[in-house]
Amino acid sequence: MTVNVTSADWYALAPISIVAITALVVLLADLFAPKHVNRYLAIVLAVLGIVVAATDCKAAYAHDFAAFGGAFIVGGFSVVFQEIILIAALGSVVLYGAIGKDDRIAGAIALMLWSACGAMLMAGAGSLMTIFLGIELLSLALYCLCGLADRPTAREAAFKYLILSSVASGFMLYGMAMLFGASGSVALADLTNPVLASNPLLWIGGGLFLVGISFKLSLVPFHAWSPDVYEGAPLPVTAFMSVATKAGTLAVFARFVYAAMPSGVADRLLLPIWIVAGISMIAGNVGMLAQHDLKRLLAYSGIAQIGYMLAALAGGTALGMRYAIFYLAAYTFMNLGAFAIAALISDDAEQGSRLANYRGLAQKSPAAAALMTVFLLALAGLPPTAGFLGKILILSTTASAGYVWLGIALIVGTAISLYAYAKIIRAMYQRDEHAHTHAAHPFVPLAWASAIVCCVAVVVLTFVPPALRDVLPLVR
């Protein structure tokens, strides 16, 4: 097989390259910038780079193109996921305006941008090799980011994430080797060969591959890492990780489900995943009930939310794909918004992470409390937020695809989660004469802007849902 690489192939990589180069520019600028401006310089450069990349990325929408002989595929599907990842990077980078030591900001932002590159690579990955490369780029940068805080919990988070995630990568890689053995090619497209349906290598390899995916998505039997890692990692990193890892991995999973399996295999091979998704919805929401830490609570919430997104994919329908993406986009905004509020009431000690600090927030900062309420309502799936519309869309598509039990799990999970989210709302609006809420940071304009933009997005997405045509994943 000869692959002729033309300039078009490189253009397909342009958004990723822009983000990667931005990271270098941020590091270099930090060398020469005076000490007192380096924090904001790094943030501004990163934001600019991300905006340029997002603008450039948009062009590929509705122009499907398989670059590098199908190893990297751009089109509606990859564009939507890449934009979501870029939004996640943007929303997390600006949080460094409120949190973190001055001399580490540039390094942290550069690592975060490279990590985003990995996730963006996963969004367009059309071969096993690109998938592996993307996952490792994403994860390696995140291991470092997790440890970038002077707290023993941060180091512990980095260590746990390193070990558990590497093991998952090991499983995934071994599965990939088996898939390669089955089809004789690293291209996902070659896995659709109907001859493979009876090949044990495909079944074992696919199974191991899915174990790795479930781990990265933190589905229930493999979820134990996520609360600890989310709690330990610095706040902007948690914000980024909660969206970008999910978006990247969901893209890989969706491409595998929709476009890389011989017919007849999907129903049986994926059934365990749907079951696990249903269990995650319930277990994740139950896990939220006992938490005292916002990041930990959002980790459990994320376990449940990814279950909802997988439920949309369960039928393998075109509509399901759209709604999974819609829900992912909504989740991105509500999650980033919640983290922005947490950053608003934090300094380096991250007071915004402890739920006790939300007591009486409405008295100290009514606007922050109101915004947080919107995000929590959205996470719970109540109107007038995109979480409400997302859930109803997922419900109807899952039910019509014949997975009614997943719809019921979704409702039961949502009912449980209401209590957990309302508990925070209640604390915020409690009249507490001795409220010891940490006073809101005097001036953190970027985090405020992020929270407001997220709030607007969460509401507007409800009333003007994007059409999301041509977002089916392709392989060739």
């Binding site: 509509l319 759209r322 709604y323 109101a370 309502l377 109540l382 109107p383 007038p384 409400f388 859930k391 109803i392 869309l393 419900l395 109807s396 598509t397 039910a399 019509s400 719809g407 019921i408 409702i411 949502t414 009912a415 209401l418 209590y419 309302a422 709302i425 209640r426 609006y429 409690q430 009249r431 009333f463 849902p465």
Partner: protein, 473 residues
């Protein structure tokens, strides 16, 4: 567009009040009352108007479709009147935020009654619960009450959501409310029916799903609870008529015995418990359980007469329960208690207050000449016509008991020897009088001339009654 303003104006005004900085109770009350008065006028002017904008085309068609139906028209007017009166009567700490929440509640409920799309209905359903939850958190007496309200009603809301999604998946469109050509069929319809029914029965409420209600009604500040008990509780009944009876009449018929039994238990249980309560607001709360139970029986009896009576009684109950709660609020703000054991003898010093409570209580116990009587009478006739003699006879018991608990309420507060250590305050002021006047006036007008409701728009029940006949045969 005017019809759209019914929803948007209160919501926008509510948000503006919430974010304003300066705390001026008179200004807040004036703005709130003006907005409510505007919605009343606009509701009359916009009768029959529709506004529609496509929301979703997949997986089912859904629209932002706003417009009143023959039935919701009256509920919208009731909502506007009750909100107007409640805002005029409001005198609470942090008035500005409170009036803001009242307006948000009005906007959300306007949306609920005007929604011609099921998905929009479900959206406003959850939305209308939030202001009450926040008021319970900010102004309520116990946090636990806010919890119970939130959990019960949102659990109901989830059932509604599930049923709406299933409805959309099955029928392909949720843009259906007010249409008479929609008919659901299939193996899933019983589940959809019960999804809707649970949400409606929780909201109404009906025994055994009522346990959130007495707490909420006694803990919420009176102006808010006047609107909640008068109008929000009608959301479930309205949904039952506009969705359950209109689209799934066979299933209403099939499950009618269950609904009738639940309704009869509610109306007996509510009346018996109301007699024993010492908290004035709880007496009214349990009396509501009893009255609304009667309406559930009327609806489930699937009889055109009973349906007509139910509609009249829904409006009448809204008027007198709002008046009762407002008067009890005035009493509470004067005497700082609402315990019937502690209160007494206020009537001597507050004759106008006594008069207002008297009219509201008499309407509640069904005195001829006031609106409550007309509704009860037509409902009972309808239930007899439907052949449910035993239910009609059982329904008579609470009507007798209503006299007992309402008179006990009146006597406990107004009559008897004056209690020396109760503060003596001035009688009903002009503003409070103005707050009660529209409710009392409407009670008398509808009591003397119920035709206003039944003949104003002859098409009022045609759609529902037709499907209903089709369903019963």
């Amino acid at each position: 567009m005017l019809v759209l303003s019914l929803v948007l104006v209160p919501i926008v005004a509510g948000f503006v009040l919430l974010v304003l900085r300066n705390e001026n109770p008179v200004m807040s009350r004036t703005v709130g009352a003006l907005v409510a008065a505007f919605t009343f006028g606009a509701a009359i002017a916009a009768h029959g108007q529709e506004w529609s904008y496509r929301w979703l085309t997949r997986p089912f068609v859904a629209s932002f479709h706003i417009g009143d139906t023959a039935i919701s028209y009256w509920l919208v007017l009731l909502l506007a009147i009750c909100t107007f009166c409640a805002i005029l009567a409001a005198s609470v700490p942090r008035q500005r935020a409170f009036v803001g929440q009242m307006l948000l509640l009005e906007g959300a409920m306007m949306g609920l009654f005007l929604a011609r799309d099921l998905l929009l209905f479900a959206l406003f359903w959850d939305l209308m619960l939030l202001p009450v939850f926040f008021v319970l958190l900010g102004w309520g007496e116990h946090v636990a009450t806010a919890w119970r309200y939130f959990i019960y009603n949102f659990a109901g809301g989830l059932f509604l959501l599930l049923a709406t999604a299933a409805f959309g998946a099955l029928y392909g469109s949720t843009d259906v409310i007010g249409r008479s050509d929609v008919h659901l069929a299939g193996a899933w319809v019983p589940w959809i029916f019960w999804g809707f029914a649970v949400a409606f029965l929780v909201k109404t409420p009906v025994w055994p799903l009522h346990t959130w209600m007495p707490l909420t009604y006694s803990d919420t500040p009176s102006p808010m609870v006047a609107v909640v008990s008068a109008v929000q509780s009608k959301g479930g009944l309205y949904g039952f008529i506009a969705i359950g009876m209109a689209f799934m009449p066979e299933y209403v018929k099939a499950y009618a015995p269950i609904l009738i039994v639940l309704g009869v238990i509610s109306l007996l249980y509510g009346a018996f418990v109301a007699v024993t309560q010492n908290d004035a607001k709880r007496v009214v709360a349990y009396s509501s359980l009893s009255h609304l139970g009667l309406i559930v029986v009327a609806l489930a009896s699937l009889n055109a007469t009973a349906l007509q009576g139910a509609l009249i009684y829904m409006i009448a109950h809204g008027l007198f329960s709002a008046a009762l709660f407002l008067v009890l609020g005035f009493v509470e703000s004067r005497e700082e208690t609402r315990s019937l054991v502690r209160l007494g003898g206020i009537g001597a010093t507050n004759p106008r207050l006594a008069g207002a409570l008297c009219i509201a209580a008499l309407a509640a116990l069904g005195l001829p000449g006031l609106a409550g009587f007309v509704g009860e009478l037509i409902i009972l006739t309808g239930i007899f016509q439907a052949g449910l003699t035993w239910a009609a006879i059982l329904a008579l018991i609470p009507i007798v008991l209503a006299s007992a608990y309402m008179l006990r309420l009146f006597q406990g507060i107004m009559n008897g020897p004056q209690v020396p250590d109760l503060p003596v305050r001035r009688d009903l002021g002009w503003l409070e009088g103005l707050a009660l006047a529209p409710l009392v006036l409407a009670l008398v007008v509808l009591g003397v001339n119920p035709h206003a409701l039944t003949t104003f728009d002859t098409g009022a029940y045609n759609a529902v009654a037709t499907t209903l006949q089709g369903g019963t045969r």
